[in-house]
């Protein structure tokens, strides 16, 4: 059987495209890096793929706020035959397509209103990813706990995981209590920042940006569109962990099990299994 194809978008300052492509290849996809402008030429090309990834990066330098300019490009641009990429993209989602937005990609999906789309309000920006509460960019490994029974196909079978965050604008804010309830009750929340005991937390630095309800990643109502601030593609192997030399040493001495994969692997693997 032919491998399912994954499309990794790039261009305009997306910068995690190489490792995201590699991550997709690693779990079994046939992955393609494509510049947004090459997709714009023929948006129907999207239907050739089972997974579309909006990788991390600094599209347009976060100049008007993270993801604002890139999402405007998707929203306003027309292809050479006059069609809007945005509409083709929504059709792709409806036709059982998978979409993953990581960090800047998550910010883009939120600005486009593809996430969270509470009560199917696709196209309307319902939440935001604001500047971190501490006010600056942060690179740090965080612990995350998966919300059980969430519909995202990407987080199936996941429990506690460790991934790195690397962002200046990752603070998930919801405008009011009603939407927050909608987000929670309709099970949009997939992963949360947690403390050593696995409890969601508002404390810095375990919750590195001050997100409401410690939310780190959310999905749309179908569970096929998933966005998160942490970087699963940067946690694919043992050697991505910040303390892997210590893990290796302890495994050598006392037979502690040494993982060969990082915790991000399962997220891509889940997408592959759904797609194939």
């Amino acid at each position: 059987m032919a491998k399912p194809r994954a499309l990794i978008l790039t261009g305009y300052g997306i910068n995690c495209d190489y490792e995201t492509t590699h991550a997709c290849d690693t779990v079994g996809f046939k992955a393609y890096r494509l510049h947004l402008n090459d997709v714009l030429v023929k948006p129907e090309g999207l239907f050739d793929y089972r997974l579309v990834v909006f990788p991390g990066g600094f599209s347009y330098g976060d100049d008007l706020g993270s993801g604002v300019a890139y999402s405007s490009k998707i929203r306003f641009s027309r292809s050479e035959n006059g069609g809007r990429l945005y509409e083709t993209f929504m059709e792709y989602v409806e036709r059982d397509g998978l979409v993953l937005g990581i960090c800047n990609g998550f910010q883009i999906l939120v600005r486009l209103g593809i996430l969270p789309a509470i009560e199917n309000s696709y196209g309307e920006q319902q939440v935001t990813l604001a500047p971190n509460r501490e006010g600056y960019f942060i690179n740090r490994w965080v612990e995350l706990v998966t919300q059980q029974d969430n519909p995202s196909i990407f987080t199936r079978g996941l429990g506690r995981i460790r991934l790195p965050v690397r962002h200046g604008e990752g603070r998930l804010l919801v405008p009011d209590e009603e939407l927050l309830q909608g987000l929670e009750q309709n099970r949009h929340v997939c992963i949360r920042y947690c403390d050593r005991e696995g409890k969601p937390t508002q404390s810095f630095p375990q919750n590195p940006n001050g997100s409401q309800n410690a939310i780190a990643g959310i999905c749309d109502p179908t569970g096929r569109v998933f966005g998160l601030m942490p970087h699963p593609e940067a946690a694919m192997t043992l050697y991505h962990f910040p303390d892997w030399t210590g893990m290796r040493e302890r495994a050598n001495r006392c037979g502690e099990e040494l993982p060969t994969k990082g915790d991000g692997h399962a997220i891509f693997r889940n997408a592959f299994e759904y797609a194939s």
């Binding site: 261009g11 305009y12 300052g13 910068n15 190489y18 490792e19 590699h22 991550a23 510049h35 402008n37 991390g56 990066g57 600094f58 347009y60 330098g61 976060d62 100049d63 008007l64 706020g65 604002v68 300019a69 405007s72 490009k73 306003f76 027309r78 920006q125 319902q126 939440v127 935001t128 604001a130 500047p131 971190n132 509460r133 501490e134 006010g135 960019f137 942060i138 690179n139 740090r140 790195p164 690397r166 919801v174 405008p175 810095f204 630095p205 970087h231 593609e233 940067a234 694919m236 050697y239 991505h240 910040p242 303390d243 030399t245 210590g246 290796r248 040493e249 302890r250 050598n252 001495r253």
Partner: protein, 997 residues
């Protein structure tokens, strides 16, 4: 109708404003004013003929985040915010790069579906709630909110703000329909006038160089040739400027290539070119026995072999002068500018790692600041932010670095930016490190537009900071324009669409086209084809502009259409601007008229320089310090010292894992609290081969003898790379010299001969050490005018060398980190500890003096490094840490911090064998040492490999979270690791006003 509209966006009143919050902290901590609060407003001034409705849509649908923010159009949003007493609005001066405004303009044209000539400018408003006088608010502006070289400020009290309806529109007018002017310059004038022409134009040419230039125009053949192309006998301003740029210290390295008469005691020697004799000389000697060098000292970056499929290109640049005037702009252009070097080496490489080493003045400095000097803390904040934006936005991980604080850097900070690129060894069969430009190839410039920014950067950085430092030398980087361009270039490279590439850095087109013209034998450049940011530039300005984010390529005519089409598809500006020729001339025209016609051989000729150097070693008394404190306090003070403490708040703001290839990052251990000796990248997916980046820097030893300073920094860079797992036999080095002006001048630089002697000695130290280790220099840079002089106030940097090491790690799975791993592990000190504490951290902190600086025992160290690598290869080391500043004491503390474990250190054997005092043993900074821990089960194998080399057991790792230092039964110090960790982490966080967590 074309008009201005103001869109103001603020965070909603019930939401926090982190940026305003930080500004309030800065005001309080810097100036001591009490502030109730600060809120920030982003202002977009739109110049367009769009309808009110369209402007409204732009504000509500694009610029305003519906969850977080609120907006107003043509009315002050501040009136909807909590009360404030003062409002300050900061805007860029006309012509200064405004990235946000630029993106807003682009998005506006996406929204309207066409480019309609609209322009958007960004300003930032600070609404300050504090009981202050206007003068105090003006001071806040000057010291915190804006930089008068690039920005303007308006200040309104609340009543004025309300009465006037906020701030007025700041109109921006460019000169339209400018016709470029070229002037002739008559150099047939007396010597004094000749020199003043150089000074007034910031040419940085000496009288001799001016006369040499003039002599060209006295040749009959030159005059005849000039007349044939329509020029007169007098030089044009374009020619004079191009000559000055080409001959500048920055581009030509005249001091490094000078003939030097060196005197030491009664001895006299002549050195012909420090660079050729000692730096390239070292590499030539080593190259005979090392086969991994691909391209050294030829191109924009040094190139070494990584494996049989890939090469690595590495370059480290400095951007000191611009960072002194505008720390943010200076450092961001430093890092993105350095990136263009590996990216423009050979056929171009893709960037995969950054390293940044920064030297600042004392950030706790108090008192009045002299003119044009910024407070070191403000310099640090700006520089750190610039590198953050440059690295993070381009998606390049910063995997290594260092920060040094010393009062001598308050006049000019040192900003070393390093960048590594990877390139396939061959591209469609063509060796990737070879570039050529053939006659007939098209000159294509790509990337950003040209403005007046950065004019005279090359010549300005060849002088000290003074009152006449040109403000245009200051500029701001645009990382995204560069990222788009470099992404496109990698695509073009893989299709072999061009034959040569180089960056536009110092000297702009004059430098890039001038240098590439040498490959082809000439160039014909048409300046009117240059894409300008705004009208009003004269030809010499277009040629010399150092506007950022530009590369120049030689594109074969047959590939031109494909290249331009690719650039168009990637939204990257690319324009043909003439062609390479074999005429032997650098021929520049503007609108069909020749404005510059210089023989290439003349333009690039060298004017020999002869300089005097005289070495009188400093006479230093031998005084060991007496701390009068318990050893515990000394340990804590050392680990909290700004030169030792954790760089975590800076490191965490630099993305150090983007790219997915970083396998050793700057913070290590389970809590990411420990410092790493070097960074390691495994750049090829599916392969475990990697490379390490490490640095050596210690300007303090220059106070005693720069020969040993240099030897120590070479040793330190190598030691750090070896420490994490690099093969000592596959390490290459880069040298970056940052010196105070070493040219004697009886008024300006009376100690020039001494400083030049320091340079000679340093270069020899680099040479001798590199040759002994077999570690070749592959590239480097020297910056020779790191002084500040206004009036009687002169500040010169300590003679400083950064040595950067890039070393192959054969198998990254075997890498070793400095954190202790398991209680019960045995602790050993490898290498000899000696009584040589002059300028050690301990002596500096507690007032000791000594003329004895650590000496590098090259042969013994190399043996040890090979043995250490064998221990790594066999997986025998649980941890390994190099000893440098603060010696054994600091190294033990750092390994405890990284591992979250304690140690029981017993110094009795070390003291017995070395005959040193406790303080000497703990704080000596002797080179060539590591502290390692290992599983006691492995001790036998460990000793069989170590053999006769110096090794002494210094204790065991413990699980009780205490660092216990003993001499036999006698306890010398006992410290809680948690407390050491707190001290280590806290200092810099507190200084920067950041939450540690």
């Amino acid at each position: 109708m074309v008009r201005y509209s103001r869109i103001e966006i603020s965070i909603k009143p019930d939401r926090e404003d982190p940026s305003g919050h930080h500004t309030a902290w800065e005001i309080e901590s810097t100036l001591g004013y009490r502030v109730q609060g600060v809120r920030t407003v982003t202002v977009y001034t739109v110049y367009s003929d769009l309808s009110d409705e369209q402007i409204g849509t732009f504000a509500s649908e694009v610029l305003c985040d519906p969850v977080l923010s609120m907006y107003s159009v043509d009315s002050p949003v501040g009136l909807k915010l909590p009360p404030f007493s003062w409002a300050a609005e900061v805007s860029f001066k006309l012509g200064v790069t405004d990235n946000v405004g630029h993106t807003a303009t682009e998005v506006l044209s996406m929204m309207t579906g066409e480019e309609n000539g609209s322009r958007v400018y960004k300003s930032t408003q600070y609404l300050i709630d504090a009981a202050l006088e206007r003068e105090q608010v003006e001071r806040i502006g000057e010291e915190i909110l804006y930089n008068s070289l690039i920005e303007e400020i308006d200040i309104l009290g609340f009543d004025e703000y309300r009465a006037h309806g906020g701030f007025p529109v700041r109109e921006r007018h460019y000169i339209e329909d400018y016709s470029p002017q070229t002037e002739e310059i008559d150099l047939r004038v007396p010597d004094e006038t000749l020199k003043s022409i150089s000074d007034e134009r910031t040419l940085a040419l000496t009288l001799d160089e001016m006369k040499y230039f003039r002599s060209y125009y006295e040749r009959d053949d030159v005059i005849e040739a000039r007349i044939r192309v329509g020029l007169g006998a007098l030089p044009t301003d374009v020619e004079l400027e191009a000559f000055a740029q080409t001959q500048s210290e920055h581009c030509k390295h005249k001091i490094f290539n000078a003939t030097i008469a060196y005197r030491e005691g009664g001895k006299r020697e002549t050195v012909r070119s420090l660079f050729k004799t000692y730096i390239r000389g070292a590499t030539e000697k080593i190259a005979e026995r090392k086969n991994f060098l691909v391209s050294v000292f030829e191109d924009n970056a040094g190139v070494i072999e990584f494996n049989d499929r890939y090469n690595l290109a590495f370059k480290v640049e400095t951007h000191n002068s611009p960072s002194a005037l505008d720390p943010y702009g200076g450092s961001i252009t430093g890092i993105v500018g350095c990136d263009r070097d590996p990216a423009g080496t050979g056929l171009g490489s893709r960037l995969i790692a950054h390293t940044d080493v920064l030297c600042f003045g004392d950030p706790t400095m108090e008192g009045e600041l002299p003119p044009r000097m910024m407070h070191p803390k403000r310099v640090m904040e700006g520089v750190v932010k610039g590198i953050e934006d440059g690295g993070n936005k381009c998606g390049i991980p910063t995997i290594n670095g260092a920060v040094i604080f010393n009062d001598s850097y308050r006049g000019k900070p040192l900003v070393f930016c390093g960048s590594v690129g990877i390139m396939p060894r061959s591209i469609r069969g063509a060796p990737s490190h070879v570039k050529e430009a053939r006659p007939g190839d098209i000159i294509v410039m790509t990337g950003g537009r040209i403005g007046k920014d950065g004019i005279h950067g090359a010549t300005f950085s060849s002088e000290e900071i003074s009152e006449s430092s040109p403000v245009q030398a200051v500029q701001i980087g645009d990382p995204i324009t560069q990222k788009k361009m470099l992404d496109m270039i990698v695509e073009a490279r893989d299709r072999l669409l061009y034959r040569a590439i180089t960056d536009n850095g110092a000297g702009g087109l004059s430098s890039s086209v001038g240098e590439m013209a040498q490959l082809a034998g000439g160039a014909y450049l048409e300046l009117e084809k240059a894409p300008l940011k705004y009208p009003g530039l004269d030809p010499w300005e277009i040629l010399l502009s150092e506007a950022q984010e530009r590369m120049t390529l030689a594109v074969p005519p047959d590939n031109l259409d494909d290249f331009l089409e690719l650039a168009r598809r990637r939204d990257v500006l690319a324009l043909p601007m003439g062609k390479f020729t074999d005429t032997g001339y650098f021929h520049v025209t503007c609108e069909g008229r020749t404005v510059c016609y210089l023989e290439l051989s003349f333009l690039h000729s060298s004017i020999p320089m002869t300089l005097d150097a005289r070495w009188d070693p400093p006479k230093l008394a031998e005084n060991a310090p007496s701390t009068g404190k318990p050893l515990e306090h000394v340990f804590m003070e050392m680990i909290s010292d700004l030169n030792t403490c954790s760089r975590e708040p800076i490191i965490r703001r630099y993305d150090h894992e983007v790219g997915g290839n970083a396998v050793l990052k700057p913070l290590i251990g389970a809590d990411e609290a420990g410092p790493s000796d070097g960074g390691v990248i495994a750049p090829v997916a599916g392969s475990y081969r990697g490379f390490a980046l490490a640095a050596g820097i210690n300007p303090f030893y220059s106070e005693i003898d720069t020969y040993h300073m240099a030897a120590n920094v070479v040793d330190e860079a190598i030691r750090n790379a070896v420490s994490v797992g690099a093969d000592p036999d596959r390490i290459a080095l880069l040298d970056n010299f940052c010196w105070p002006d070493p040219v004697y001048d009886h008024a300006k630089t009376p100690d020039g001969r001494h400083k030049l002697a320091q340079l000679v000695r340093a270069v020899r130290g680099c040479h001798d050490t590199a040759v002994a280790y077999g570690t070749p220099f592959i590239s480097g840079k020297d910056s020779m005018k790191n002084d500040y002089k206004i009036g009687e106030h002169k500040v010169s940097v300590l003679p400083t060398i950064l040595v950067s090491a890039i070393g192959i790690v054969p198998d990254i799975r075997m890498c070793v980190t400095s954190d202790f791993k398991c209680p019960g592990d045995s602790l050993y000190l490898l290498g000899l500890t000696r009584r040589e504490l002059g300028q050690s951290l301990f002596y500096r902190m507690y007032g000791g003096t000594s003329g004895s600086v650590p000496k590098v025992h090259r042969d013994a160290n190399l043996k040890l490094y090979r043995v250490y690598h064998e221990l790594v290869r066999q997986g025998l080391l649980a941890s390994g840490h190099d000893l440098s500043e603060g010696g054994l004491a600091v190294a033990l503390m750092e390994s405890c911090i990284g591992g979250g474990l304690g140690a029981a250190a017993d110094l009795s054997t070390l003291l017995g064998e070395s005959g040193l005092s406790v303080e000497e043993a703990l704080f000596s900074e002797s080179a060539g040492r590591f502290v390692v821990s290992l599983d006691p089960k492995n001790e036998k194998r460990f000793f069989s490999i170590v053999g006769e080399l110096p090794v002494v057991k210094v204790g065991t790792v413990t699980g009780d979270s205490t660092l216990e230092v003993r001499e036999g039964e006698k306890s010398l110090a006992s410290l809680a690791v948690e407390e050491i960790t707190r001290c280590f982490r806290e200092s810099l966080y507190r200084l920067l006003g950041m939450e540690k967590g």
